[in-house]
Symmetry: C2
Subunit: 505 residues, 2 copies
């Protein structure tokens, strides 16, 4: 088939790329449309790549992202309001501007029009893939860990009872206290009131391109299949829709032999083994004071710590701590001598930890990281630290707990065996469903009729109103009849009494 791919930069592309590569291997004609300026998208792909010039440079991108990442060390985003009010939203606007740049490139748009693709395989983060799918009326497959705000529930018409399905960013579990459930409701209200403002620029661009005012629901609601990079070993079980396919752990792969350098570190670590430490590909700087507190704690455990860090070397770095610019994270986690993984709890890292059965110390920073950390914590697979408040001692205790208390290892191994016990591998499942949408021009039989209802019809407010009206009317009439009957009886008794009185006087 002929597939148009609209990816998202950064770590999102790591796993989407593996699906694209497999589709290419299976003989599909794939065209990837990407911005000229990007961190990860550029690397060679064995298919047609179409780029469009952007309104920003790589330096702009780096600067804005650094500001964004740095801000996470000051205040964590725990509400839509703080997300909206954040002083570092420019990074999002850079991404949102991509689509305007794409559609400015008339030659590219013409090329896409004439290519008669069978489907669009897209990462919805910057909205552009959604806009492209709608513009060319192509069936679409969304590829995401989750979707910000309530647009997944709305776009897929999927119920998410607020009583036990925590909203994102809150870091709640599925067993919420009353107070947390109240907060969960308020967050849901925030989403409905504020999210469209967060996507204001994106929606303006979309409306401009599509030449009609559109909402996020309009963009998401035609999705044929949602490939969601999660499963219910990570996430709490909740209602889903038939066109949601769970491919959590798609980034896991069989450990490869370690480069000599790392083999040597492990051999030198003796019986204590090693700890792997990485805050992901997106976080290159840690505020100095924080980095020193971390370095201090790392020096207090007997394990050798391999710390992927591109920032300035903390002056108090202990001998057991080795700083590296890059490390083969998955392969290291797969090594039997690896005792723990210090991570920001991004979904890729968490799944590598699950797949390799390594307990975690989690320092969530932004996005879904707080939620991933809470889930792993409640499932006994790790300890979460609040990066803003944590002290060196907190980190030291957390590491010693996770390494020495056997329950963490047992829990993560149980999660690992549950996760890897599946009828189809996530990558094969993803490839199957992209091909399914191409073969059948979408998946209309999986589109719920809820899309054709207004919100009050969906919640049956009209029916409940009608039934209530009927019940009240019946009750009223019954009451009136009884009252009338009662008065009648009373009237008769009254006359009988009077007659009786007049007789006895």
């Amino acid at each position: 088939g002929k597939l148009l791919v609209v990816p998202m930069d950064g770590s999102h592309w790591f796993t989407m790329r593996s699906v694209v590569e497999k589709l290419i291997l299976r003989g599909h004609e794939v065209v990837v449309v990407m911005p000229e300026v990007s961190w990860q998208l550029g690397r060679s792909l064995n298919c047609t790549v179409k780029t469009y010039s952007t309104s920003y440079t790589l330096e702009d991108l780096d600067r804005e992202f650094k500001a964004f990442a740095h801000a996470q060390w000051k205040a964590q985003v725990r509400s839509i309001y703080s997300l909206l009010m954040g002083s570092y939203n420019d990074i999002f606007d850079l991404f949102f501007s991509n689509c305007r740049s794409l559609f400015k490139d008339k030659k590219l748009v013409e090329y896409l029009k004439e290519s008669s693709f069978d489907a669009v395989f897209l990462d919805p983060f910057d909205n552009c893939g959604l806009i492209v799918a709608k513009y060319f009326s192509l069936p679409s497959v969304v590829f995401a860990r989750g979707i910000l705000c309530h647009y997944l529930e709305e776009g897929a018409q999927c119920p998410a009872p607020l009583s036990y399905v925590p909203r994102i960013l809150l870091g709640f579990s599925d067993a919420m206290t009353f107070k947390e459930r109240v907060r969960n409701h308020i967050m849901h209200l925030e989403e409905h009131l504020l999210c469209h403002r967060f996507f204001k620029n994106a929606l303006e661009i979309a409306s401009e391109i599509l030449q009609t005012p559109v909402t996020e629901y309009d963009l998401y609601s035609h999705t044929s299949i949602w490939l969601l990079r999660t499963d219910f070993v990570l996430d709490y079980p909740k209602p889903v829709m038939p066109n949601m396919i769970f491919i959590g752990g798609i980034n896991c792969h069989q450990g490869k032999p370690l480069p000599m350098e790392f083999e040597a570190y492990i051999n030198a670590s003796g019986e204590h083994g090693i700890v792997v430490f990485s805050l992901g590909s997106m976080v290159s700087e840690i505020p100095e004071k924080k980095a020193m507190a971390i370095a201090d704690a790392l020096g207090k455990i007997p394990q050798t710590v391999l710390w992927r860090y591109t920032g300035t070397r903390p002056s108090n770095l202990a001998n057991n701590t080795i700083l590296v610019k890059w490390l083969p994270q998955n392969d290291l986690l797969g090594h039997p001598m690896t005792r723990a993984f210090i991570t920001h709890a991004g979904s890729h890292g968490v799944y590598e930890s699950i797949c390799n059965g390594v307990p975690m110390v989690m320092m969530p920073l932004f996005g879904d990281q707080m939620d991933n950390a809470k889930r792993m914590e409640t499932k006994g697979a790790g300890v979460t630290l609040n990066v803003l408040e944590m002290t060196s001692e907190d980190l030291e205790n957390a590491l010693k707990a996770v390494i020495n208390d056997k329950s963490y290892k047992e829990n993560i191994m149980r999660l690992s065996s549950l996760h890897k016990d599946r009828p189809v591998e996530p990558l094969d499942l993803a490839v199957f469903w992209v091909e399914f949408v191409m073969r059948h021009k979408g998946a209309p039989h999986l589109r719920p009729a809820a899309h054709d209802l207004t919100w009050y019809q969906y919640h049956s407010l009209d029916v409940i109103g009608f039934l209530l009206a009927v019940v009240l009317t019946v009750a009223f009439i019954t009451f009136k009849c009884c009252a009338y009957g009662y008065r009648k009886c009373l009237g008769k008794k009254g006359r009988v009494k009077k007659a009786h009185k007049s007789k006895t006087h």
Copy 2:
């Protein structure tokens, strides 16, 4: 692993048996517990079969079922009330009595206790499998087309918005009119008010065995995995839960060569081909008048009709209609010369029609048949007739439409290609999940936290009540303050006016 199987008699066993046989082939130690008296369960199985004596004979079973089946030709069950009030419920009570008989057999109960099974694979229809699972605290896998009343939604804590998810027995589509949505709500109310009375005997037996009062929710809520014999080519898309696995079409299999007798019928049918007619394994008698009307209609089409019927031969049977006691339904439907399938729209028959791409004329009788028929009809794969009101002409027109109007064939072929395009075959998927539950002693990670909430917590009535109270209190205080402030201002103006007045006079 070691698996206990508690099956249900009748057509339910056909497909469950294929899963059991595959599990046996894969080396699992399987013990099937079944009543001594049954229609279909007796046939040899390559595993340990434990039977228990029943309080009824095969004649009782036949008699009660005949009464039940016959009653369907008089009045169709379209509500829980009519199900409850039906004069043929004895058949259900016979089935419900199975569990009392099983637990009376102390030797069998002792055997089951000592066998330390890994899981129970059960058909929930007569409740007994559920009771056995709870009694021996074993993880359970439910195998069913659907579950009567609201016990699937409740047992799995799965939302089913009444605005577009039609309740069973009503024969509604997912695009309901306002009136139908009102009826859907009333049906839901009926379910909550009346269903427990339909299961009264069954629950008494369960409470007696478990020595504690139990509800259907108690019996269903510990289900680890629901293997549901449906999919979203047949059913309308709706919310589902992660522990629901869809294995619709598990009964389909590659067509085998036809016995000579049937090959001959087909060859003799010439260019018109054949029509297959069967009201399923459970319906052996049709009221004579109705049978004659049917025979009359069948005589008016050029195709040869192969009619599986064990009742008295209608006197007006035409030459093109051949009566047989049994026919290889699936293999006949797989033959290219088969033009149409007249069926009662049981799920097995409907899936064989989907798998083989044969349009249908549907005469639903009871249970899920009305709903299956409505679904196939709204998807353009057949025509539904009401057996009570249908005339010979109706059947004739329906047959001619389904055979001659190409759209029916196109629609059923489209459904067929959608249905058969899946990553895993239903039988393999079913076997995988039974083995999963055995390996992991259940699937606790798929159990939603909703089970730990009361109904008002689940619907957030406490949170909404609290937030409303807060809003009203704030509104009230604001109002009071404004009123007070207003009075204060008004008071001042009043004094100023008075002072002004006294000056001017």
